[in-house]
Amino acid sequence: MVSEMAEKAERSYTTSPEGSPTTKAPTAYSLLRKVFDKILGFVTSWRRNTTSRGRRIFHRDVEKDEFQYASTHCLSSYYSVFVVRLAIMVMLAILIGLLTILTWHFTRSYTKKSLDTLAYGLRYELLQRPILRMWNILNSTAEITTAQVKLSEYVIRKYSKPASQAEQVELYQVMRDVTWALFASRKALNAITVTYRNGFVQAFHRDHRSNNTFYIYSNLVNYSINANEPYDVNKLSSHQEWNDQSIHGNLSAIWYREPLDPLTGEKKGKASQIPPDDLINIAGFSQVPDGVASWHVAVSKYTDSPLLSAALPVRDASNESIVAVVGVTTALYSVGQLMRELVEVHRGHIYLTSQEGYLLATSTNAPLLRNSTTGPKLVMAVDSEDKIIQMGAQWLERVYGNKFPPRHIVHVEDAKLGHQQHYIDSFFLNLKRLPIVGVIIIPRRDIMGKVEERAFKTLVILISASVCILVIGCVCILILTNGVSKEMKLRAELISHLDARRRAEASNNYKSQFLANMSHELRTPMAAVIGLLDILISDDCLTNEQYATVTQIRKCSTALLRLLNNILDLSKVESGKLVLEDTEFDLRRELEGLIDMFSVQRINHNVEAVLDLCDDMPKLVRGDSARVVQIFANLISNSIKFTTSGHIILRGWCENSSTFSQTTKFPVDQKKARCAIKTKLRHKGNHMKKASKKENKVILCFEVDDTGCGIDPSKWESVFESFEQADPSTTRLHGGTGLGLCIVRTLVHKMGGEIKVVKKNGPGTLMRLYLLLSKTVDGVEQHCQIDLVSHNVVVLLALYGSMGRAIMSQWLRKIGLPSLGVSEWNELTQVLRELFYRRKHNNGFEAQCSLNEPLKAEVLDIQDVRDPVFVIVVDIGLLDLSTDIWKEQLNFLDKFSGKATFAWMLNHDTPNAIKMELRRKGHVLMVNKPLYKTKMIQILETVIKEQQKNSLNAVRATTKDDDMHEYLEIDSTQFENASSEDSDMAEMGNSNALNAFLHGEKQKERGMVTYQTFKESLVELTDVHLEENNLSREDVCKMKPNLPDTTEETATLMNNKQAPFSTVSESESSKHWDQHSESSCPKGKANSYSSKAVTEQKALEGLRILLAEDTPVLQRVATIMLEKMGAKVMAVGDGLQAVDALNCLLSAKEDKRESLVQDGNKGSQTEIQDSLPFDLILMDCQMPKMDGYEATKAIRQSEAGTGLHIPIVALTAHAMSSDETKCLEVGMDAYLTKPIDYKLMVSTILSLTKQAT
């Protein structure tokens, strides 16, 4: 990607400078576009590949359609990102290119222009100076010439018409002097010549090379003045002729040359004759044919530079004829020197040429003359030996040829001469007869060289810088947009994730919806099954076996229903919707029930289930009993699953009380464990303890200890995960989903506790957990009767399971009862013999011998007890049931029946025949295994009571025995409720009157099973108790004296009993409650009104109920139901009407009350009771116009401030707990599901109205 982008950037860069000129732009643009298209195409195909790959990965587990949308979305976003990226890059490239070009252009063009101007000025100046010098030379030459002419004229006029030769000589002498003066005054002059008409020549010549000065003259002898004079005059008319003649004539003359002292002009040497060839350039008459000055360039063999000579005629006085010609020759040498000097400073070449092209002066040393056969000649510029001049001249000629621009002014800046570029400038100097052209050639490099180099460097730097910037920019853009595209990708992913989550939530919603339906659908048939079973149970014509079976079925159904509820609850736990109840319950009883239940399961194994709860555990705690039981049920069932032999112990103790005083009695490992837990708790925060103190919470610790296969230490954490099992083979062996422990942990955490697997000595698993539950106000209840000790009870535990026996005897010893433990029949017999025979005869030494030492010691201890009451708890397992020996064994035990009370621990499946036999033998105390403290206490209390009663009233005792009898037998099947009822029963035993009453009741309602009878009576008692509290029903007092003081306790127990277990058992028990409240209520009335005519049905007599229900059928049904029970019903069709009805009646009441107040004397009690128009409202949740929730809210709002509170019961078809929560949230007091369960409804209504009144 990056490389490709770079490439693209490169290309765009290379194209963009091209594109900047306007003419090339369109083609460049199209090119650019093509390039883009190509890249785009490539990239998109590439992208498609990658995205499809990404999609594949994505699609591994999710539906395809789901992401199609997202991926196309992604793709389009990729495109857009790419296009944006491209656009930004192109723009950047163009910008940078433009900037570069502009910068470069401006800097360069301005410098160049100014430099050019400067260079031009320089060149002009340079050229101007030699020209000026030239001009000066010309001027001075002209001046000298003119001066000579004027002087000559003056002299000649003076000596005009020379008379004699002497005069003539004198004239020439004067002329010579004058000429010398002029010659000497000008050092630059090369020569001055005076040519007279007669052919006489006088000339001064200065040889600059040898620095000699010469005087040159022609032979004067050959000429006579006479001869000349007429000639002059005569030939005035024809100058031409004269001139030619004179020159030719002079050829024959003899020339002399005299070296002179250059300063004084004195003759230095002898005059020597020289040939006329050596003559210097003598201006002749021919040069001044028209009598005006003339210029020409001449050459001389004495100098190597051209000479400039001027000639002027000298006229006579009359100004008619020319008498002489004056010629002045000046070397142009100095011009050349000046040029050289100039060029020395500024490199380059300067030269001057005549118009024809002859070099006059150069700045080089190249010779200007060329020797030819006819003497030295001027060199043409094009033939110059100097290369540059030659090339420059050639270039000019080539370019311009003969057609020079006007005035010959040329300025060329980039003439290429040789390898270098040069400036060539030429100027034209228009002298009369001698036009001069000046040319200056300067290598361009000299002036612009540095500048151009700089400019080039600058350009290079600029270009490279811009390229760098472009590249960096592109990279930056790439990175930036990459980030953006990544973000977009992430966003797309996020969107898809959100989508998936939404779907998941939706499906979760469906799940809960499904569960809502399921809960309803599952409960209904189960309720039907249970109901039918109830009907069947109440049938008279069942045999005992059938009855037992049906009861079993009912129990199982209840369990199944509980299970169903649990499943529903689990889903709630899973979804985190679980809300823990906060109700009061008897933890001990719950756990006992649990152990009882599991003892049935366990019976098939050779496993002992032991419950070991400390006495300091609070009896009543607040919390969610169902969840607590669930926790232990899961743990214990788990243990049972993996334990094939040994024991399962459920230990429990309270953490913050003085537990540690007892720890000494526990095994060492356990003690350690406790310490560990304690430290851990301390760890966990003193704040927790503080909190628990403040909020009246207790930390309850539990241990579930089994001797099963154990859990590998590495799995100790993971077993609490969902669907996790310690060993994969467990599923095969034991089944299960692996959810149990997970749920346990969730629940424990929810209750503010912790659970973990703890290291254990020996095989098996030790799970330890603690729960944070709040104590009830009344705190720890001392249910253990103190009088046990005072009765000198001695307990002999003949139990099979060693663990249970050990724990039990420990406990007994703790509360101060001596106990003995034996584990088999032989031991039992020996101990019995020891205890009784020896006590009697004091000589059973033999028997004693067979006992082992510790037991013997114990036996001896017991023997010290005075007047003991023996209680012997015998496991039925000790009897040999496989053969008939057990009868023998029973007979043996019979011998002791008078001295001790036997309590039999029955197995769940103990045959009826044995039970019958036992009963026949008078062993009425039978309890089911396992044995735990409550049962023990119950047994002991029964025994003590019996002892007392035996001494007091035999008749009553028998009645009670009968009761007990019945009860205990039923206990064997009703294990579920047994634990709850045992203690009740025990307390019940106190009340003779009650027993009598129960008896009567039983006679009356023969169809009812005994346990139900018990329950009923209990309920009745409760009811009575409630009524007792209810001051308005004072007539109950009649019954009151008959009741013992324990009634209140019973009532509370009864209440407690209804709290535990799941809703169904609750509802079930409450159903019983209903029945009994139904039955008892009228009885109360019967007492109060002394009229037995009232039917039992009228449970709701006198209640005014407002029914808000839109479905006519339901309305009708409910109305009839309620009316049948004696309630006054007002039915309305929706919530609005309900609110209206209530308000209207309320206001009416208000008025009435006001009037009553005005009356003043009326009792206030009735008034208060009447102040509510209805005792209760039954409110359907879903109704038109205003639904139940709204209506309830409205009602509660109107109630606000009045202190009134009408109980509102919701009626809903939804059976989920969330609906219940919603109902309770809006201010309803209770909750009934449709179809209306008659009994449940009554019980709910009654509880609420009772509460209200």
């Binding site: 339906n517 006519p1112 059928v1113 009708r1116 049904v1117 009839i1120 359907d1180 449709k1234």
Partner: protein, 152 residues
Amino acid sequence: MDGVIQLQRQLVDYTASLFHEGFLDEQFNQLQQLQDENNPDFVVEVVSLFFEDSERLLNELAKALEQQCVDFKRIDAHVHQLKGSSSSIGAQRVQKACIAFRNYCDEQNTEGCLKCLQQVKHEYSLVKTKLETLFKLQRRVLAAGGSIPKPI
């Protein structure tokens, strides 16, 4: 007297079959239990109330489902009512059909709703015939001088 007994047995059998086939459930028994000398025709009254109500609701439902844009909320409310009333007389199968109906309603599935409406109608007419037959039998028993056996 034999005829009466036979009629009574027939009635019992028929009622049992209704329960057995799932047309009725426990709720109907409760209903019958509510009937006494104060409300001698309670069951018939309630059931005819149910018939009226159900017919009205079914019409409403049919109408609502014919609409261009189906108002599922309203339909849901109607079905809920129908479910409530059918469950309170113990017309189990109607109630079940209603539950399915409501599920489709939640899904906003018009097709499913129409199908369910047909099913509900079918169940309703079935239960109606059955109940009418039952009442006819009861009347005949009463006319023959027998008493209607109370449900257990």
